[in-house]
């Protein structure tokens, strides 16, 4: 029960940060759906790979990314995603907020671990 609740909140957390992870990947250079997915999956950030397409569609509507179709050496033409200035600014803001968030959570979790140890011994 507790384990599944923890997983649920992990899913929520993932959902919140995923779009910025995509922007961060695109900041390293334009990329296409399957390649973005491959990079996210290796970091356990994406469980159902298909859900990236609704997310990419939203980023497009928000004008955080633009797309261009390109021929590929193998297989069908691919839609490439490129980060916009607006997307870059959103990513910068998130990076600042995230650092603050991470430090705060780490501080609390670290404190809890120490307390746990003190109780345990």
């Amino acid at each position: 029960m507790v384990a599944s609740e923890t997983r649920d909140s992990l899913t929520e957390l993932r959902r919140g940060v995923l779009e910025f992870c995509v922007l961060a990947i695109l900041r390293g250079g334009e990329s296409y759906g399957f390649d973005i997915v491959r990079e996210l999956s290796s970091g356990e950030l994406l469980t159902s790979e298909g859900t990236i397409y609704p997310l990419l569609s939203r980023l497009r509507r928000q004008e955080w990314v633009t797309t261009t179709w390109r021929e590929s050496d193998a297989g069908p033409p691919r839609r490439y995603y490129r980060i916009t200035d607006r997307g870059g600014r959103a990513l910068d803001t998130f990076a600042t907020d995230w650092t603050r968030f991470r430090v705060a959570v780490d501080g609390l979790l670290g404190g809890e671990v120490r307390e746990g140890d003190a109780d345990g011994h």
């Binding site: 296409y32 759906g33 399957f34 997915v37 999956s41 469980t47 159902s48 790979e49 298909g50 859900t51 397409y53 609704p54 997310l55 990419l56 569609s57 939203r58 590929s72 193998a74 297989g75 069908p76 691919r78 839609r79």
Partner: protein, 172 residues
């Protein structure tokens, strides 16, 4: 023998194409709530993903296809992510602003609460009555909130008088 192998491979090819077709069919069915152009775009994107994944794998056997489809996740989940991006954000914002409006305490509300509580001790009768004036002046609280606050204040004002009378009656 060669013929048998060829037929076998052809059969397998058909099977895996069937798997992909079934998957895309389920996606299309689940996506019926989406706007027409977005629905065909989403199905196209997923179809392209499968194609690129299979090209990347360099094989199209059943195991490879099943793995690609499994990793994509259930079509229903993809569609619910699509719906979630459209509907969840404004809805959540509306709930939040509603809640903020109900709980938000401005200067008027704080003065009202102080007069109703501490005011009753420092300035008996006058404090709570002034507090009620502030309660009714609030723009944040609803009429229902104000009626409840007034009822409680009046009850607290009457209670000591009632107690006094009942004590008198008991002793007399």
């Amino acid at each position: 023998m060669d013929c048998l192998v060829a037929r076998c491979e052809k059969g397998m090819q058909m099977d895996t194409e069937g798997l992909v077709r079934d998957y895309l069919g389920r996606l299309e069915a689940a996506a019926w709530t989406l706007a027409g152009d977005r629905r065909s775009e989403l199905v196209g994107e997923v179809r392209e993903h499968i194609e690129v994944a299979l090209t990347d794998a360099g094989r199209r056997d059943e195991v490879t296809v099943r793995n690609v489809l499994d990793r994509l996740g259930p079509p229903e989940e993809i569609v619910s992510a699509e719906v979630g991006t459209d509907a969840a954000s404004p809805g959540a914002a509306a709930v939040l602003s509603h809640r903020e409006g109900r709980l938000g305490l401005g200067a008027v509300e704080i003065v009202a609460l102080l007069l109703l509580t501490v005011g009753g001790i420092l300035l008996p009768l006058i404090g709570p009555l002034l507090g009620l004036a502030f309660v009714w002046a609030s723009t944040q609280w609803t009429t229902r909130d104000k009626i409840i606050a007034s009822a409680i204040a009046v009850l607290l004002l009457i209670l000591p008088v009632l107690l006094l009378f009942s004590l008198r009656a008991a002793s007399g």
